[in-house]
Symmetry: T
Subunit: 149 residues, 12 copies
């Protein structure tokens, strides 16, 4: 079982700045904990500040052939503006979970627009870094439902 975590712009700063919004643990530490918690899952991680490289990465992942594969995508600011990313998510057949650390509903109005979510399995918003953990559970539940069919 393989899961790709993709983080968008400014998210390499997690745990380093603005802890009031994004929490105090660095993503590296969190990613280490996550791998320890779900040892039976093979995780990959990719971060870029460049919209087009996130598109590239989604297509690259879609070429791999894992029997069970999912993507956890926190597109950061591009969530609200990128039709290109939305098109990429729509064009691949791997399930994608849309993830956000902060509660977008309490921030600037433009953060309520979500270009990507319509093409995702679902969205998990506002639980800090636990949003990623919940996304893992969401994909696990998705795989087990598919198997029971």
């Amino acid at each position: 079982m393989h899961m790709d975590i993709i983080n968008g712009p400014n998210l390499h700063l997690l745990g380093k700045r603005i802890p009031a919004i994004y929490g105090a643990i660095s993503f590296d530490v969190f990613f280490h904990q996550l791998k320890k918690k779900f040892t039976y899952i093979d995780f990959s991680y990719f971060q870029s500040n460049i919209e087009g490289k996130l598109v590239d990465q989604l297509h690259k992942i879609s070429l791999k052939e894992h029997p069970q594969q999912g993507i956890i995508l926190n597109a950061g600011a591009y969530t609200h503006t990128s039709i290109a990313l939305a098109d990429a998510v729509q064009s691949i057949s791997i399930p994608v979970v849309d993830v956000h650390i902060s509660n977008l509903y309490t921030r600037e109005p433009y953060r309520k627009i979500n270009r990507i979510a319509p093409y995702c399995q679902g969205s998990i918003i506002g639980f800090g870094l636990s949003s990623y953990t919940l996304a893992v559970y969401a994909l696990l539940s998705f795989f087990s439902e598919k198997m029971s069919k």
Copy 2:
């Protein structure tokens, strides 16, 4: 540890109608499975089609004194219109998780307005009945984070 699940209008029909949108399992069956999965949690369930009764219920729950208590709220159609429910969630100090079965981003435009989410811990949208299971994990993670502080 206590968790209240509150369902809003038309959600007593889960598993009975429109399976394409809301899935094929009845909420009763699902609720039974949930209680079996998390035996160490004391669950309550409340459903009403009446906006004001959902407000009443939130206040009733807020008077109980559990050391660890959370609310999983799927306000259904009232999610998009009810300032009264939003005010009620804002006025109580128990953590509330906003939950939706279907992916609201792929439906009518008015389902993108969420009056309640700004006052919740976070939102889980679009994972079928698994959205409730993920909400349980979200509350568990919230309690463990609070304890580690």
Copy 3:
């Protein structure tokens, strides 16, 4: 053949107040005339000022098993705001006719929004209490068309 007439908020006042907008005959008198005009139809009547009770009633009716059954719904002010009622109408398989006494197009702009009509057979607007009579004809015509198929 069974027809349920459901009236929403403030419509128990018909014939009592604001005759310039809603006409001068009470709904009781009109309902009596209607039953006399269509003796071969079994009519029921329900009125509530509470949005959620109208939702409840739609679900209650949908559980009855009449070979030919229709609903005449004047949701009053909730026509313009209630997604909950719209969801309820959408979730039941009985044909519903959306009925309005006054000509909504000549009143406040917010009365031009109709949340419920998209899920109804059709709408009859502005003919005074005759709107209900026309709705009976509409359901009769719907049943006869279905039978001729």
Copy 4:
């Protein structure tokens, strides 16, 4: 008793094309049935694809002097854009019923704008060709109410 049925653009195609939206019976066949059903009413029929000719026709009809006279108007696409037709309906004293075959509320957003309805007796929307029959009943009920005054 005289009733004029006026159909706007593209409605000469009724029963010929797009049966999924407009039904499968031609208007000629339907009009024949209607005249047979209401033998005591003198019907006229007019159709044009030209906005201004519909305006002309409304004024021509308003010059005739029938003791009891009504107009059944399906302005088709001009319903949503024509202030000229709206002005014409407003300027004549004969009662006009606004009629639509399909349920406008389930189609393109611009079909929710109705320029003409504010100056009509009322609107009948979405009952297929039966919408015209219901409009006849609506005018009959209007005349009988006027006589009883």
Copy 5:
């Protein structure tokens, strides 16, 4: 002389929660003070979280026959959304004063929409619980003006 005070959703919490917005005195204590201050007025009090019950109550009050009667209405969150309540206020002939504890102009934008005020005598906004006292003065002044005519 009779005055009915009607409070809408979440207002049973006055004096208990969020004192920064709604003040620190409970409504019970305040209501007791109010009755002591205006001993010559017969006060009634009604609170509900249910929109339709507030509509019911307005109609119930309108059936009583007091020579001098007024209503002080704080519809809470329903102020901003309820056409049903607005219709109810419009349909009764007793003077209604629209009252708000907090200054709605400094809060969320949707609190600037007031569905009910157009059908009230006037509005008193932002003076804490004193808003109710000022509403009593407003009704007294209204009665004395009517008498001097």
Copy 6:
């Protein structure tokens, strides 16, 4: 105790024109009555049609040093457009009550925008000249609350 009443454009006409909207008593007569009713208050009055002179006056008043001082401001048409007046009210520390004679909610849509109210204690809208009297009570209640702290 000192109170300044400031009236904006066209309000020197009170009692002289359009009695249907603004009432039939002249402001002079009313002001005389007000001073007689509250003999223990020292009232000043200022009226100007010039936006900037109203700003000047607010600053002039803010330089006086009264132990208890309040402003009753009816900015007339400038209520809906003047950011300059709003800035002036925001910049002074004397409590200001926003007052309107007519019910703004029943008039042109642009009268629902209130630039000044967010920086006032509260608003009193629609009670005719009694709105000013109620504003006096509002300031008295504000002073007595402050003293009891």
Copy 7:
């Protein structure tokens, strides 16, 4: 010197209907008076309810070769919607005066949109049939200014 008066839809009714809005004199009578008042001007008159025929007429007029020629255009309802007429006015080099009998600013909001005026010499709005007389003066003044250059 030649002037063409062009009237759009429903304007053949002038003096016959709705005198409260359009005045009580018929256009024929008025046109006769106008010709008597300005005997040195050669007037033509054209009216159509058909948008495209008004376009045709503008092009027909533009082919005539008068040394001094002007058009007085009251496009009626098409003023607010017709890009085709606006394009036609823009494409001809004869000066056009936009004329309206009623004060459009006091009527429905959609009458504030004027598609045609940007391509006219100017607009005369709201003076009853005198609007046409003023348009004649406007063209005369335009010609005399041009001659003095």
Copy 8:
């Protein structure tokens, strides 16, 4: 017969600057010509850059008692923003003609909003300084119509 011409902000510059928009003749020269053309009319002229002084002036004029009196008002930039001026025009009973030198429909979008015109007799827009001359004709025609009644 008396006519007051009132010019708003920046209009003292007429004939001095931006001749492309406002023409090349100074208002003084034009006013002299106007008085010579209509010797039987008693003209007054007032210009101010201050919104409130224009309001003052309208009220001052309304106190004079001329048997036949009219106002020609070019409120300049205040046309588009001033509710205070609109209220002033509405409150006086002397006929006011709204006048503009340039064609507002070809300029910035905010010049299409006209706060004042709804309360005027009519509007004359875009004929250069001739707009004032046409306004004189408009008032003359208004007086003669009133006399013939």
Copy 9:
């Protein structure tokens, strides 16, 4: 192989006026060149300034039975407003290519709305009269693709 070219309002002026926008060659000359370039295609041409006649023509063409038939439609100003034309294009089964001479994206904002394109094969915008030539190529390519299936 048959192709109908249909031009809407003001397009009979091509090559005669406003060459800066529409080019300097008359449509007659161009049409002659086109027929010489594609001798194996049977072209028809229709132009009208009347919206309804364009609708008529589309229906007339749809009754002809050519094995390979296409329509090249430049609806001019009606492109942006005509739901009637859009309905007509939608109701016929012959492929229609939407053609525009000028680049609509550089002109007035209302020229960005295209009512007709959603029901066409595609759109060709801004290449002068060559837009028609490209439309011929587009239809040829459409026919050859269909044949190769």
Copy 10:
């Protein structure tokens, strides 16, 4: 003669995915066919998912010196959002043709906004891969027109 084809995000997938929207032939196969069809044209091809690299490429191309040179640009999702690409197209003097495979008018509303087209020669929308062929014809026609001047 040189032509550069530039494809934006997700367009490297042509012929591989979602054939219902983008067709079944890969772009490589199509590009081969195109070069064979127009052997006298020197084609280059560039694709990137990165907005800024598309900007870079436009500037790179503009530095080359071909006597006859054109660009065929399908900016994909960036068509609807990229002011940077629009600025780049505006800043270069080589003619650019805006090309789209699918009919944008039948898809999401945000695909109707086209940032780039205002600075292009013209747009070709909705003819599948033939849109590129038509763009070649459009550039050829542009060059031949320029030469004949």
Copy 11:
């Protein structure tokens, strides 16, 4: 070399109130420092709370004849609403620099509208009182560029 500094409403309070937004130094002290820093510039200062007086002042300054002259304008709240001031700036030929003390982008949404900037050399926003110093540098740089031409 002459520079006029013009301050709009409420700006005479600088250094006296709300130091969090407008800084702690009074404008008098700052103006003294500015004159000492740029001894070779002849500064004038004008402040008014009255929109029309600011218009007057701009015209007064434009009549002076300085070889090198510039205006530094902080129109305060009128920046966002005054078309009259914008017209005045547009009508004079002296360069005007638009200056703001606070960062308008972080305040109320209506402070993002700037009526005046389109007619200024440029804007300097958010640097506290240093904004004025930067405006002096901007004018100096403007003069030196003009001289080097």
Copy 12:
């Protein structure tokens, strides 16, 4: 003292193209002049057409440790759309000055939206390349103010 100048998309063309908008001097020449004018400042320069690389650069700069450090950012077209850049500016603690060469207020409406300015010290707009020089002064003044505290 260190200052980083960052230029966004298309700004490497400065001095090469569209001199009417962006001026005639190349940025290289200007940058040389700037370094010569402020010899005591250590300048760096970075330009990219790629949004994400501008984000990268901001984070790279924020890792350097200069005692006095500032950023001059002209994000070009990304100013109006990039939430990612805005987030980056918000996340770093170095003062950033938002700089624009042309007067954005006189260009396309979408250039009035500024995503980045809310997180900057201030904005300098419209002074040609002098905008950068003024930004240097702004940072110098910011440092000297900080030191004097």
